[in-house]
Amino acid sequence: MKCDKIQPMLSAFIDNALSARDTWEVDRHLAECHECQRNLNEMKCTIKLLHDIPSFEVSADFDAKLQEKLSELQPKPDRFMWIKGLSRMFRPRLLPAWGAASILGILLVMMVFFNQKPIRTVNLNTFPSTEANFVQQAKVQNMAFSAVNPLEDVSIANLSAHPSGQFGSNANTSE
């Protein structure tokens, strides 16, 4: 293999991450190529320097600052809980149920509204309304009476006693 094929494999070669065949190829090439040997050494040295580079450490107040932020975090979900609750109530899966419930509600309201008797604003103790009640009551009684026993109606009884009916009065006057 040539150097330009070997060099990209040097990184994985250092990490023992090459296949057995590639490792053998790199080994064989390195044995006779000083340029690749030098690259390999420099890369190993770079990795070692990176590994040994001093680490940064958090400042002394890191924990306190974090705790403060975490405690600030606690009440936030509660503040918006009602919005979350609302949005959960109106999630798409529940929309048909909400539709059915609103139709039922509208029907219920309509039933209550149209079954209601008209509100009487007239004072029942005043004369005209007493008279109206009286007349109404009489009409109802009369209708019930005639429905139960139509032949006992006074006007019908008169008609049967005088078959000539309407002309009878005229005959009397002529006699």
Binding site: T46, L50, H51, D52, I53, F56, V58, L66
Partner: protein
């Protein structure tokens, strides 16, 4: 490694059971690793501080949805990586809005930002001079984001290829080639040190 992930799993289960002490233990265990990773990604300073806090806040808020097929290690670094990417996009957008006429100065500005001395940096290391560390840090920050993430996770945080695949959501071949490109770029940038010291 297995012992660590077992301990992590029990910590997560306790967190999911609303045990605040368990979350504090996770913070204690990972804060410096996450902070170091973020400093190496966005540079040390106030931003790195805030982003590390944000990483743990996001972890806290999402710990109930944590699934045991990931390790805590992988999960935290994935959160940190996403937070850094978001942050850098914001910074880029702000910079492109604020200084559209000063494009030539952008590089100098970046240099100034990177040369800010960091007092937490430990100069007592036997092998490295402060100058070489600064050079390495700068080289890391100069890398394209995708290469930097992989080299930081592998060569500095010591994560395995498989864990990195999960964090960056890429196949093994991509992780390997990004790692090679990153190492190669860094190697070239510090080659004058390597020639004199190796």
């Amino acid at each position: 490694m297995t012992a660590v992930s077992n301990a992590d799993t029990s910590l997560i289960l306790r967190c999911q059971d609303n045990d605040a002490a368990a979350f504090n233990e996770i913070v204690a265990r990972y804060k410096n690793r996450v902070y170091n990773y973020i400093c190496r990604t966005v540079g040390p300073g106030a931003d790195a501080d805030d982003l590390t806090q944000e990483t743990f806040i996001r972890a806290y808020m999402n710990i109930k949805s944590f699934q045991s097929r990931a390790t805590l290690n992988t999960w935290l670094f994935r959160i940190a990586t996403n937070i850094c990417i978001d942050h850098q996009r914001k910074v880029k957008r702000i910079q492109s809005n604020l200084v559209p006429l000063q494009r030539e100065d952008a590089d100098n500005e970046e240099d100034v930002q990177m040369d800010i001395p960091d007092t937490r940096y430990n100069p007592e290391d036997m092998l490295l001079t402060k100058e070489l560390n600064t050079e390495l840090s700068k080289a890391l920050l100069d890398l394209p984001e995708k290469l930097r993430t992989v080299i930081l996770l592998h060569d500095i945080e010591g994560l395995a290829y498989e864990e990195i695949m999960e964090i960056v959501d890429c196949p093994l071949g991509t992780v390997k080639s990004r790692l090679f490109n990153a190492r190669q770029t860094i190697r070239k940038k510090i080659s004058h040190y390597l020639n004199s010291s190796v």
